[in-house]
């Protein structure tokens, strides 16, 4: 592990502490405790899959699909609260408005969560597909190369 890479991770202007010594100690800790660090940490904001950031872990795909299945029918609005019609008109208007907002927001949150699951699942599918595509292109290139080699050998045969 390169101590220079470690010392680039943090900055300390404290003159009583040597960043280089601290980086060396961190290196020693990481050598003593080899950490299991995921290659791709989950991120909240969803980024569209491209071949460059594709990952092809089907376990994640099934987990995302299961979560989507659990969330898809959770879109509902309970209607047990009715605003009083005897309050002052403005207050009623305001209360009603807030009530509508409250429920619409709740509905929106659930819809977002469901969409989130679906999008993650589709992303993972796309990611897996992108990895397959790369594999196919690589195999096609290999076939073309082998075909060329065969042709060359056939041409050189007497």
């Amino acid at each position: 592990m390169d101590t220079n890479n470690i010392s680039a991770v943090f900055e300390m202007e404290n003159t009583a502490v040597s960043p280089h010594d601290l980086a060396a100690k961190i290196t020693a800790i990481l050598e003593k405790h080899p950490l299991d660090t995921p290659q791709n940490w989950p991120e909240f904001a969803i980024t569209a899959v491209s071949p460059a950031n594709a990952t092809a872990d089907l376990t994640d795909l099934y987990a995302a699909l299961e979560q989507a299945a659990n969330a898809y029918d959770q879109i509902w609005v309970p209607a047990e609260i009715t605003p009083s019609r005897w309050s002052l008109l403005t207050r009623v208007k305001k209360s009603f408005h807030q009530l509508v907002l409250f429920y619409v927001n709740r509905l929106g949150e659930r819809q977002i969560k469901f969409n989130d699951r679906i999008l993650r699942a589709v992303n993972l599918l796309a990611s897996a597909q992108a990895a397959r595509d790369e594999e196919i292109i690589s195999l096609q290139q290999q076939i073309t190369r082998l075909q060329n080699q065969i042709e060359q050998q056939e041409n050189h045969q007497p």
Binding site: V9, E11, N14, L22, I29, W41, I46, I112
Partner: protein, 355 residues
Amino acid sequence: MSRIRAIHQALGKSTPGYSVSNYALTLQDTFQQWGFQSTIFASEVDPVLGNKVKPLSKFRPRKDELLMLHFVMANEVTVWLKQYPEQSLILSYHNVTPTHFFTGIGGQYAQGTRQTQSELSAFQAQTKLALAFSRFSAQDLAAAGYTNIKTIPILMPATLQELTPDPDVMTAVRTHANLLFVGRIAPNKRCEDAIKILHQYRQIEPAAHLYLVGPRRHARPYADWLYDLVRQYNLQDAVTFTGYVSDAELAAYYRQADVFIMMSEHEGFGIPLVEAMRFGLPVIAYDSTAVSETMGGVGVLIKQKRYDVIAALIHEINTNADLRRKILAAQREHVQTFAPERVLAQLRAAIEELL
């Protein structure tokens, strides 16, 4: 101080415990001590504060009075204030989280922040003094056309450390390898980074625990995603989301923590950084927006999000008493920058220029 007889304040919600509301109440006492009349006008008035806060409808503009607008976001107050274009203002800018952080949260919040960014310039002509808590925030004001801008840290009375910490929290929170984050559970705060750091740190120190102390209601889809993340890495027993806590509870979390971490990517100032330093906690924070300014070269500033390295760094701070002592000594000195008497002197000087 003459000619100006009153400095009033206007804000949206006035509720005990809400940071902007608390700040306004502290300023109200200060202005009154300086000899000004001072009333807080709010769109939502909590009955508990009824004698100190009045509804917006009670406000009457006067030429010999100043109104301090606490600009948090486009809300009922900013809409209401547009009917008084002649009223002289002090604009206290609390900074606005950029819209892109609310991708995945839903329309209303994202829409609110978008409107806020365009609304900021609306009061430029009537503002006599624009206050920013950091040079980073001052840049927003300058971009919005404000000219008389003063950068003065937020006034933070040192009352939290003097509180008796909540005994239940003191008992419930274990006293070994506790990581603490304080703030709203919102996407710009990057709470997931703290969870990822904990995931790594527990491979070195299996007893480590992360406390995420702050309200969750602002961005529930994000909070739900964080719960999923905690489950995904089997950290259910190692992460506590406290939700909103009282000051006594907050004091207890600060007292029982070992390290304070903030991986936020947007801070207009970063109040918890100062609070953590006041409580004698080593502070580790990601270098973004106003964070390095508030840190002032003390604590540890993270430049790259290498969770394994940060975990090892935390372990070193928690086990190397000499390193810890050196970090805390520098923090103790720096935190004096935010001492209430120093901040009040700067604020008073800025206001006296208006008189």
